[in-house]
Symmetry: C2
Subunit: 351 residues, 2 copies
Amino acid sequence: MTQPSEFTPACPLPLTDSPQILLAHGGGGRLMHQLLERLVFPAFRNPLLESRHDGAIFDIGGVRLAFTTDGYVVHPLRFPGGDIGTLAVNGTVNDLAMCGARPRHLSASFILEEGLPLETFQAILASMRRSAEAAGVEIVTGDTKVVDRGKGDGLFVTTAGIGVLEHRLAIAPDRVRPGDAVLLSGDLGRHGVAIMAVREGLAFETPVESDCAPLWEPVAALLAAGLEIHCLRDLTRGGLSSALVEIAGSAKVSLRIQEAAVPVSEAVQGACELLGFDPLYVANEGRFVCFLPAAQAPHALEVLRAYPVSKESTAIGEVRETEPGQVTLTSRIGATRIVDMLSGEQLPRIC
Amino acid sequence: MTQPSEFTPACPLPLTDSPQILLAHGGGGRLMHQLLERLVFPAFRNPLLESRHDGAIFDIGGVRLAFTTDGYVVHPLRFPGGDIGTLAVNGTVNDLAMCGARPRHLSASFILEEGLPLETFQAILASMRRSAEAAGVEIVTGDTKVVDRGKGDGLFVTTAGIGVLEHRLAIAPDRVRPGDAVLLSGDLGRHGVAIMAVREGLAFETPVESDCAPLWEPVAALLAAGLEIHCLRDLTRGGLSSALVEIAGSAKVSLRIQEAAVPVSEAVQGACELLGFDPLYVANEGRFVCFLPAAQAPHALEVLRAYPVSKESTAIGEVRETEPGQVTLTSRIGATRIVDMLSGEQLPRIC
C-alpha cells in the first residue's frame, strides 16, 4: 500500500499571472515553453528529458533506441488531407525520424467520449492502420478508456513510438554549429490553414490540404548518404519560427534566415492574410528543417529532392556565432527583423 | 501531401445494439473485450497485438523489449492511497512487469483542460516523479496538449513504457497449462473501493486505501528464483474475474478457484456489500495473479511473501484441461458457480 501523495509542489509556482492552464499553454509557443521549462522539466529532472529533443535517445543492451510520445486533440477529427489518426501515426513517426531513428513500433491509447459513434472510431482506426503501413511501422500495443459525455471531445489519441538508431551521429538541437546551413524540406503552413479553413467554414479557390506525411524516408536517405547531420526538427505547433528560436537557444548560436527563400504557396499566403496569421508560425505536419555543414548542403538538397514529400527542399539560411539565441529574418528588400517564439495562442488544438 | 482518408470501415459494424461508445466500453468487462476483439484488433491486425498480453514483446538488435501504454482518466484525480500520477506510473510499470520485463523508461503525455489550476498539474508531476523513483524508472519524454474548457476533465495522463526481458521465458496468457497453480499476490478490491468511497462521500470505520503500487520487485524475484512462470496478469479494470476469464479463454483451459482462498479485507467486504459490488470484479492497482506448475507454487509463495506488496500471496486455484475457457468458483460450502467477465459498467473511470 502506498502512502497518500503529499501534493507538495516540486518548485515555486511560476509562469504568467494566471494560476490556471490557458489554451495558449498548448500552443507550441512561449507559454508552452515556459510550462515545460518551469514545471515539467524540473519535476522529472533527467538529462534525456532536458535534451529538449523530439524524443529521448538511450542505449539498451548495446542498441541505440529513440522513444517519443505525443497526444492528439485536433479539432475537428477530420480535415482536408488527413484526420486525427493520420496525425497520431505520422506525428510520432516524424518525432522518431527527427531523432535520426528508424521508426519501428507504435502504441496507441484512446480516450473516447461516451456517445462517440462507433463508426467514427472504426474509421480512425482504419486510417491509423493505413498510415502505419505507409510509414512502415506497426501498432503493437494499445489501450482504450471511456469518459462520460461532456468530459472529453469525441476522441483523443496518444501514440508513443520506438525507433532504432542505425548510425553513430549525435543529432540534437545543441549540436548545431556556426557555419551550418539551414535546409527546409518544403512549403509552410498547409496543416494549420487546412484545419482553420474547415473550422471556420472557409472555402478557398484552391483548397489547402494538410501536409501531414511521414518523414522517415528522406531522413533515412540523408543518413545513408553519409551526411553529417547536426539537427533535424519537424515544424509542428508554433511553426518554423518557434522551432528555430528553440534550436538557436539550445545551440547558443544565431540563425539568419532569408525570407524570400522560405516557400509558401499562394493559397496558404492568401489564407494567412485573410485570417491574420504569419505562415512562419503556422503548424506543419510534414515539414522539417535540417542543419548540417554548409559545404554539404548541395548534396543534402539533391538527396531530399528525390522524395515527393521533400521535393521542394531548399536552403533558407545560415548559422552564425554572434548573438547567441537570436533568429533574424532578412526580407526581400533587405530589411532585418528579429523572430520570436509564438506568444499567446494562435490556433488551438491544431494537432 | 497525403490523400484525405476515406473513412471506410475495416470490418462491418458490430457489438451491442448501440452504435455509440458507452461508458461500459471502458469498464474492462465483456463490452470492452468485444470492442477490442471486433474493432481494434481487426483494424491493426498483427500478431503482437493479438497476443492479448499487457504489452507487446519484440526483439530489436538481439535485445528483447516489452512496450506498453495506458491512458488514465481516473475521477477524482486524487484518492486515498494515490492520485492519477501514481496510477499512471505504477500502471505502466506493472504492465511491463506482467510481461516479465524490467521497467526502464516511461513517456508521459498530458491532456490538460483549460482552467486546470497549475498547482494541481504541478502536484501530479511531483507525484509521478516520486512514483517513478520508487519504481526505479525514468520519465524520459513527454508531451502536453490543452483542450478548451468543457472538452476535457482537468487532466488526463497517458504513459507508455519500455522494459527489458532479461530471461528467455515466454510469459503470456496462452502459455498457461493444465496442472498450473493460480497464485494471487494479495487481497482484492482496495483500489475500486477507495475510489468509490471518495466519489460517493462515504466514510468507513476503517478507511480503505488504494493498493496502487509497483509490482516489478516481486516479479523480478520470481524470475531470479528460476521459477517456470507461465503467465502474470495484474488485476485492474474488471478485477480478478475478468482477468481469469480472459486467460482461460486465451489458454483454452479451465480454472477452478477456491473462494475461501481469495483474500478480501473486512473493510472492502463491508463496502462492497454496501455498494452492491462483488470484490472479484473490483479493480486493483497493486495485485496480480501468477500461473506456474503446481509443484513450484510453494517456492513461489515463499519468494512473493518476502515483499511487502505481495506478503499476503496465496494459492487460490488450479488449471484443468476440461471445459476450456471456463472459470468456476467453489464456495466455502462446496457449491460451484461459473464466473463470467464483468458485463455492463460497474465503476466508470476507475483508472
